[in-house]
Symmetry: C2
């Protein structure tokens, strides 16, 4: 009889596992169960669908269940909630969300790619109409429909992180008055304060109202149960729409109940082969923890790019091969209006908090030859370890090209390059692409100079 | 008495040496002699001045002699040709090109940054009017003036390398009919043939006439001594302007006559400290040879970005510090119409010619998330060593973003990353910047797969 691979969840990691497993084994029976209505879509594209940058949500769908079936003989069952895993019987229980019918299915290999779900704190009024989270295609359709109706004017976004700011831009593009509320003292708490302040200034110039250091106490509604106000410690804000984008939590309830060990932030603990503590059960994507390559610490970094890499490794190992997932560097990038914002590794504050002996430098420079049309300013902050001279982290923000610089820094950290190596990097130069001396080289050179001036570290 | 640093040549390496030396030593007397009318300009920007992308040649000037004097007390003497170096007397002889007067000057430190000059083969007719080379600001002004006059229609470019193609675009932008003649069987001989063919196709679509595998036999002129035809082995082409862009040769005559050892392509041999065989005489920029970090071979790679790095190292060492220039990776990038073309390391052909046991893969993919507006196709060819699994080279071309990918590969080669490392690189992902799985990762993954299928290398 054919061996059966069951995959729970079908967005990034789930879809990738199915596709990769099929390429490895033509005879395997492959089934995906998902509580979602959609599979294999770009979750990161949802704000662009709301903003009308992407016209149809079909464009966000990478492959439909029909395509999975026709091209790779993969069976996908949507709106099917897996409620229980029984590792001893190698069986799962499923509830059909359309009919409420319950049934079981048996596996030889099991992949848990249940992803993450938005964290919704127990705020009064969170159940009111037009209070949203944004995680899946259905969420985005509902939000877009409301905006399309033309009946609303004001939006409040709770949380000034990546998704919060992407949605601030999307809502503004759609003509809404937008307020972002962030509990921390700054938006984008993953950035050093002075960098985040530049982003905040840009958002304000684009007309976004930003409140930091203030938390939501209560959400109120009108007689029809529709949200009408957000009440914070210091403000009362009239609104027609609330988006809660406070962060996500790994979706690991059934895993935990099955005896699967959890780690940081409640994410599933896996080894480098992406196998859980129960042999034969693998996990990947937004529900697992990763290792930060720089610090060696377990971290929770739910990202589509990471999910794909982990799923590949899991699929290979599950079917008898061997591969390892090395970990992450905490790379993030986000576009907010005309600003590009990227980070890899540790911020200066994070490095200092960890007791690392580090030195930072910040450079402002043009992204192309100064005279080349369209050249724009970017700010790059580079953080190095004083003792090893290796790079600990980098932040690049501004209207110019930042993704190139951050990806160079990602590669530099992966390769263990020092500031001395970076200063001599033979980067591609021609006026349309960079100045003769790129900002990465300028910053590294500044650190080389500053490090030689620093007194030797006391031991 | 103050020590005297004399710098011969004042474009990239010369200007950088002066600026860096001043920052190192406030009391030094610093003098630049140059035969050129201009100093400290972006030679790489000249085609963009001709095309009117850059409106005034002033924009290409990074600093004027007045600024050097006022800001850093550096004396610059233009149109002064250094004719002789006497290392024993620590003296140079100079000819004033405006007055023909000759005189001497004494140095304590000498920097030779005489750059390179266009190679002009002994073709009959090369002295005719409107036959140009493009190396300095004066050249670009003359060419632009001729085009501005509106009196010409046709241009022939001899040489289908980087500058030849940049000028093909510039001339076409200005409304000329452009023919490029390349002796080799393909334009951009530094690329593998199938990559160069894509560029050729794009140029032809833009209306450029390209002739490959054919050499210029003769240039003819009319009764007024103005060029009127280029005659090749197989063609006779009517033209009003000829640009000879066959390549450059290091300008090392006076260095050689002074007993300074030359290396590859007649470029000045220097050690890692950028010092010539005569102690105390340093050299940097387009007149020196470099070491290819990948192959360990001496190479001649005249580039503004390299010149700046070498000059920094030279200035530090000259004044008693210690630094080393590691070498180059042969990184190049060029924009030709809507195509971006970049390379680092070896092409597949170059690697094979060197007897390296290599494997290549070519991937075509979008540069951003497929649904994100403006996403464009790029082609990436990655070449790895079968035994070490390290990257030997990479070429990326197309209408999408290629500079980011090539700079990642530059950093990867510098860090000695393998295809396995690259496949897991934690590159920045968000729809406006890249697909969830970037082309670099796709290509590395393909090589990982192909390498595991390859039979082990026979020893």
């Amino acid at each position: 009889m054919k061996k059966h691979l069951i995959i729970i969840g079908g967005v990034a990691a789930g879809a990738k596992t199915a596709a990769k497993a099929r390429r490895q084994d033509e005879n395997l029976k492959i089934t995906i169960y998902t509580s979602d209505k959609h599979v294999s879509y770009s979750g990161c594209g949802l704000p662009y669908y709301i903003s009308n940058t992407v016209k149809s949500n079909d464009e966000l769908i990478i492959r439909t269940p029909q395509e999975f079936k026709e091209k790779q003989n993969i069976d996908i069952h949507t709106e099917q909630l897996v409620t229980r895993i029984d590792p001893d019987k190698k069986e799962i229980s499923i509830k059909n969300l359309k009919t409420n019918e319950e049934y079981n299915d048996k596996y030889d290999y099991l992949m848990i790619s249940t992803g993450a779900e938005p964290f919704v704190p127990p705020i009064e009024g969170r159940e009111l109409k037009n209070v949203f989270t944004l995680r899946n295609v259905t969420d985005s359709i509902e939000i877009k429909k409301l905006i399309d109706s033309g009946s609303i004017k004001n939006a409040v976004i709770v949380g000034g992180g990546l998704i919060g700011l992407e949605c601030a831009e999307a809502f503004k593009e759609r003509g809404l008055n937008v307020t972002v509320i962030e509990l921390a003292g700054q938006i984008l708490p993953l950035l050093d304060t002075e960098m985040a302040e530049q982003v905040e200034k840009h958002c304000k110039e684009k007309g976004i109202n930003i409140i930091t250091g203030d938390g939501v106490k209560k959400i109120t509604g009108n007689s029809k149960g529709i949200v009408d106000k957000v009440i914070t410690g210091n403000h009362e804000i009239k609104t027609d729409l609330v988006l809660l984008s406070i962060g996500v939590r790994p979706n690991t309830k059934i895993a935990k109940e099955a005896g699967i060990e959890l780690g940081v932030a409640g994410a599933i603990k896996v080894n480098k082969r992406m196998e859980t503590n129960i042999p034969g059960i693998y996990s990947a994507g937004d529900c697992v923890e990763s290792t930060n390559i720089l610090t060696g610490e377990a971290v929770f970094t739910p990202l589509g790019s990471v999910a794909n890499k982990q799923a590949r490794v899991a699929a290979i190992n599950m079917l008898g091969g061997h591969d390892e997932f090395y970990g992450v560097l905490g790379t993030v990038i986000v576009k907010v209006f005309d600003f590009n914002i990227a980070k890899v590794g540790l911020s200066e504050k994070e490095a200092s908090d960890k007791g690392l002996d580090c030195l930072a430098t910040t450079i402002k420079a043009k992204d192309k030859a100064g005279y080349y049309p369209g050249a724009k300013i970017i700010t790059l902050k580079m953080i190095a370890d004083k003792n090893t001279r290796r790079i600990l982290g980098c932040q690049v923000i501004g209207e110019g090209i930042v993704d190139k610089r951050i990806d160079v820094m990602v590669t530099a950290i992966t390769g263990g390059l020092t500031v001395d190596d970076l200063e001599q990097l033979d980067l591609a130069y021609s006026p349309p692409y960079s100045p003769a001396i790129d900002i990465v080289i300028v910053a590294a050179g500044k650190l080389v100079k500053d490090l030689s001036r620093e007194p030797a570290t006391k031991i």
